[in-house]
Amino acid sequence: MQDMNPKDVKGEFRELTVQYFDGSKRTILVNDVEVLYPEGRLIVSRTDKDGVITHVNKSFIEMSGYSEQELVGVPHHILRHPDMPPAAFKGLWDTVHSGKRWQGYVKNLRKDGAYYWVYATVVANIRNGEVTGYTSVRRKPSRKKVQECAALYPTLF
């Protein structure tokens, strides 16, 4: 996956190197600009069994700032924000692997270094009794829940 590009990021930013669960590393650029979730939309993506993106909808493209070509075929951690505790994603994967639906509040990192909060649900896609991949649908979160998570997540590292 490509490192983030300073040309894409507006204003001041921090540069960090993150290591993902699969061992790969990426340089990310983060500013503290929040983009509010638009009303009435659902942000939808699908992945294969390993979390590699196979499908995104228009709202996903608009909110993440990446093009469809940049998203399809790369691991979903392309949106991972450094403020998200690893425990949250461990919970996500443990839950879906056990056959259950996962729901949680997620802070996502955009291509332009800004962030957006979502209320996400992940379910397994089961065809003929077998898991073929996962679908995630995000909706607009309540501000109160976002504030609670913004206070809680730093304590989970």
Binding site: V44, T135, P141
Partner: protein, 248 residues
């Protein structure tokens, strides 16, 4: 054997005749007896489905999971450009201008359209509203939802976007939309039951070629549909996965 055809009870009253015409037309094309039955509630229709009394259905997205995954229905077609989108609406005199200004304790008017109700509730979530802190007032039609708002007995109403636009101009002028969903994927679809499955290809052909002749076009128009579009089983499966992330 007479096959049974039914449409989701949330059909627009303006199109009842159209569905009858469609059924007559389909029987002729297939040289097959098909009985058209309308149910006046989702519960009554679900009971008929459970009793095996439905072979062809224009189904609400909410019921697609049950039909496809429990009852073995398969995907036939969907109307072009007709997604189900929901609106959250207030009286035009209301002081509320955004969803986030809505407070616990409000009274919400809604119909029993299950997908609209689901989308409406999701659009209230950003204000921390859910069934435990609001009052839900069921209504028999969208006209009655509008009436509750005009009379001030309810604070907000859930509408199917299409039904909102079908209201009279005079009524619409006294209402204001807070938000309209833009989901695109949730929509009604025509599904075929197992007993009728062997005619799948034939029926599909007939539906897709409806726009090729004047008669077929007239039938579509009377149902308020531009054209049928082929629906893959995976398209319905995807919609069902999506719905399962939203249904409590």
């Amino acid at each position: 054997m007479t096959y049974q055809f039914t449409v989701s009870p949330d059909f627009s009253p303006a199109h009842i005749a159209g569905w009858h015409i469609f059924n007559t037309w389909l029987q002729k094309q297939l040289s097959e007896a098909i009985h058209f039955e309308m149910y006046d509630s989702f519960d009554a229709q679900r009971q008929a489905i459970n009793e095996g009394k439905v072979d062809l259905i224009y189904a609400n997205p909410y019921d697609a999971a049950m039909l496809v995954r429990d009852k073995g229905f398969t995907a036939l077609a969907k109307p072009i450009d007709k997604p189900d989108e929901a609106m959250v609406v207030v009286n035009s005199d209301s002081k509320i201008t955004t969803i986030e200004e809505l407070q616990a304790g409000i009274n919400v008017a809604y119909t029993d359209d299950p997908d609209v109700q689901m989308m409406g509730m999701i659009m209230l979530e950003p204000a921390d509203l859910n069934t435990s802190n609001i009052t839900m007032t069921p209504c028999d039609s969208y006209i009655l939802v509008a009436k509750q708002l005009l009379q001030g007995t309810c604070d907000v109403g859930f509408f199917l976007e299409e039904s909102f636009h079908d209201l009279s101009k005079m009524v619409k002028q006294q209402l204001r939309s807070l938000v309209t969903s833009q989901i695109y994927i949730i929509q009604h679809s025509l599904l075929l039951g197992p007993a009728f499955a062997e005619r799948q290809d034939e029926i599909s052909q007939i539906l897709l070629s409806m726009t090729n002749d004047e008669k077929g076009k007239g039938v579509l128009e009377s149902m308020g549909i531009k054209a049928w579009e082929h629906l893959e089983q995976e398209d319905v499966e995807f919609m069902i996965d999506l719905m399962s992330t939203l249904v409590e």
